[in-house]
């Protein structure tokens, strides 16, 4: 279980994350929603162990994240920043293999077991046709899939993704979000910041709404997502039609 207790992050004299307490279990797909600058990305960096809170604690199964060695933590959780990229034109296969970095010896060849795992992951993410293609020439949707494959090839328990569907067309956005949901169903904890509230409502098992560094609502989409909350978050009138996988969140133009 991942637990945050009174987490505070200050940057440049501002409270980016202000007294956030949360508990999350495997099997959950948590969508972090909120306006730009609400502290979602920072909170994801904190729970991923990439940023130390100025005060408060983050624990994983009772152990503080700071106590984990970098490589041990890297085997347990995967993190993808917003718009992940690859600097060199390495092949998709090599890119996916980078996800196994924490389990590799310092020098020498890749163990056989790893190679079959890479192949299986490439197939699971429909990338077999792109296996030898330079990652820098992939389309946005393909790159997102390749990065998710990279994040999941090591079979981590927890996945933290910052805006995984930003810039994707509807088909690829839907494909990505469904994959995240399926991961949660296989017993992993998935935390993703999302701006598409329709997809968040349809596929996340839980929504955490952030505003000015604080969590102002937390629960299942059916419980907490109301026009009032959306107005509070985004300062825009909204309408929610339907429920579950048919829900649609519409923002209305001001009168």
């Amino acid at each position: 279980m991942l637990e945050l207790s009174s987490v505070v992050i200050n940057r440049g004299g501002r409270n980016i994350v202000n007294n956030v307490s949360l508990a999350a279990c495997t099997g959950e797909f948590i969508a972090l929603v909120g306006p730009n600058g609400a502290g979602k990305s920072t909170l994801i960096s904190v729970v991923a162990g990439l940023m130390k809170p100025d005060s408060g604690t983050v624990t994983l199964d009772g152990r503080s994240l700071g106590e984990f060695r970098g490589q041990n933590l890297a085997r347990l959780r995967a993190y993808l920043p917003q718009n992940p990229f690859c600097e060199w034109p390495i092949s998709v296969e090599r890119l996916v293999a980078l996800g196994l970095t924490p389990s590799l010896p310092a020098i020498g060849k890749m163990p056989e077991a790893h190679i079959s795992r890479i192949t299986a992951t490439i197939e699971a993410f429909d990338l077999s046709d792109h296996r030898d293609q330079p990652a820098t020439t992939l389309s946005g949707g393909e790159l997102t899939r390749a990065m998710l494959a990279r994040a999941l090839v090591g079979d981590p328990e927890l996945l933290f993704v910052d805006e995984p569907i930003a810039g994707l067309d509807p088909r690829h956005a839907l494909d990505t979000i469904k994959r995240l949901r399926r991961l949660a169903e296989t017993g992993k904890l998935v935390v993703a910041s999302l701006h598409d509230l329709t997809l968040a409502t349809r596929y996340a098992t839980r929504i955490v709404a952030m505003h000015e560094g604080q969590v102002i609502a937390d629960g299942t989409p059916g419980e907490i997502l109301t026009p009032r909350l959306l107005y509070e978050l985004f300062d825009v009138d909204a309408r929610i039609n339907g429920e579950g996988e048919r829900a649609i969140v519409d923002f209305l133009p001001p009168d």
Partner: protein, 329 residues
């Protein structure tokens, strides 16, 4: 999956041919049969002395120094993900040059031979330490800017020492050294520089996996368990040891660290860890080839090695800038 093995074999073959050629070539051309007898009998014939005492250490130095420059360039380009990175960029070369110039300036070099390499390494270390202290916490860009500042300072201090040189002879000696050369180097130089290059090289090779992860940017690399501070320290120390000692023995030799990784990268799978060894071999091939060229080309006085590598390296630099302009938004 493309393997770099065939290219490594090819580079080794090329290096062997050039190595043999470098024993033949010079003011006096020595026939291959005498090269063999000189190598294996260690006789006292003039040709044997030329081969064993002059050309062999010179060829070994070219290989060792070229390899350390090529390898450092590959690792620095992997760390900064900047195609123009090379030892020069982080101020390592400037620091080593300044250290060696101080040795010459104060006459320490005349008192004992090892003073120049020793102070060169100290200078490279100091420059690297300053670069690291200045660039700390600010990411790769801050590191490059800090390196540029340290290079500028090193250059200014070298110019100052030329300006204030006690006599024309010292100024001439400094100038000569700054042009970079492998002539008149002995086995003493080889044994002085070799351990450092081996230690520095081992450190640089050990960074391979982390550099691979860094292909995904700093945050993703960090999430994969890469300790960025530790990685930067390893790269800076490895480079300082390898390039600092190399520069202090051979003088300033530019562009090998820039060109070598670029030349071989298209024949690799672009993964930074798979570029390091081929870049070291390519650096050795380039420097050995350049050193042979300076001995074959006669245009008055001896062509200095550093001058020659700069002359052939600068067009490459121009080409790269033009390419960047084309691809820039």
């Amino acid at each position: 999956m493309r393997s770099s093995f065939p290219m490594i074999v090819l580079l080794l073959a090329l290096l062997s041919i050039l190595f043999f050629l470098s024993l033949l070539a010079g003011r006096v051309w020595i026939p291959p049969s005498e090269v063999f007898s000189g190598l294996f009998s260690g006789g006292t014939e003039l040709s044997e002395i030329i081969i064993f005492e002059l050309r062999l250490p010179r060829a070994v130095l070219a290989v060792v120094i070229g390899a350390s420059l090529g390898m450092s360039g590959a690792v620095l380009q992997g760390l900064t993900r900047n195609p123009l990175a090379e030892p020069f960029l982080l101020g390592v070369s400037a620091g080593a040059s300044l250290g060696a110039v101080i040795a010459i300036y104060f006459g320490l070099a005349a008192m004992f031979a090892a003073a120049t390499p020793f102070l060169g390494i100290v200078g490279a270390f100091s420059a690297t330490a300053i670069t690291f202290a200045l660039g700390r916490g600010g990411g790769t860009l801050a590191l490059i800017l800090a390196g540029a500042a340290v290079s500028g300072l090193g250059g200014a201090l070298i110019a100052l020492s030329l300006n204030l040189a006690p006599n024309a002879n010292a100024a001439y000696e400094i100038m000569n050294w700054l042009m970079g050369s492998l002539s008149d180097r002995s086995w003493d130089h080889v044994f002085l520089v070799l351990p450092f290059v081996l230690i520095g090289g081992a450190i640089l090779i050990s960074t391979g996996r982390a550099l691979d992860a860094l292909s995904l940017g700093e945050t993703q690399a960090q999430s994969l368990g890469v300790d960025l501070l530790h990685l930067r320290l390893l790269v800076l120390f490895g480079t300082a040891i390898a390039v600092g000692s190399a520069t202090s023995v051979a003088g300033v030799i530019g562009f090998i660290g820039l060109v070598a990784p670029h030349l071989i990268r298209p024949w690799t799978d672009y993964q930074p860890s798979h570029v390091i060894i081929p870049a070291a071999l390519a650096g050795a091939v380039l420097l050995l080839g350049a050193d042979i060229a300076t001995r074959i080309i006669h245009i008055g006085p001896e062509l200095k090695l550093g001058v020659f590598t700069s002359l052939i390296g600068t067009p490459f630099f121009f080409w790269h800038v033009v390419k960047l302009r084309k691809t820039a938004p």
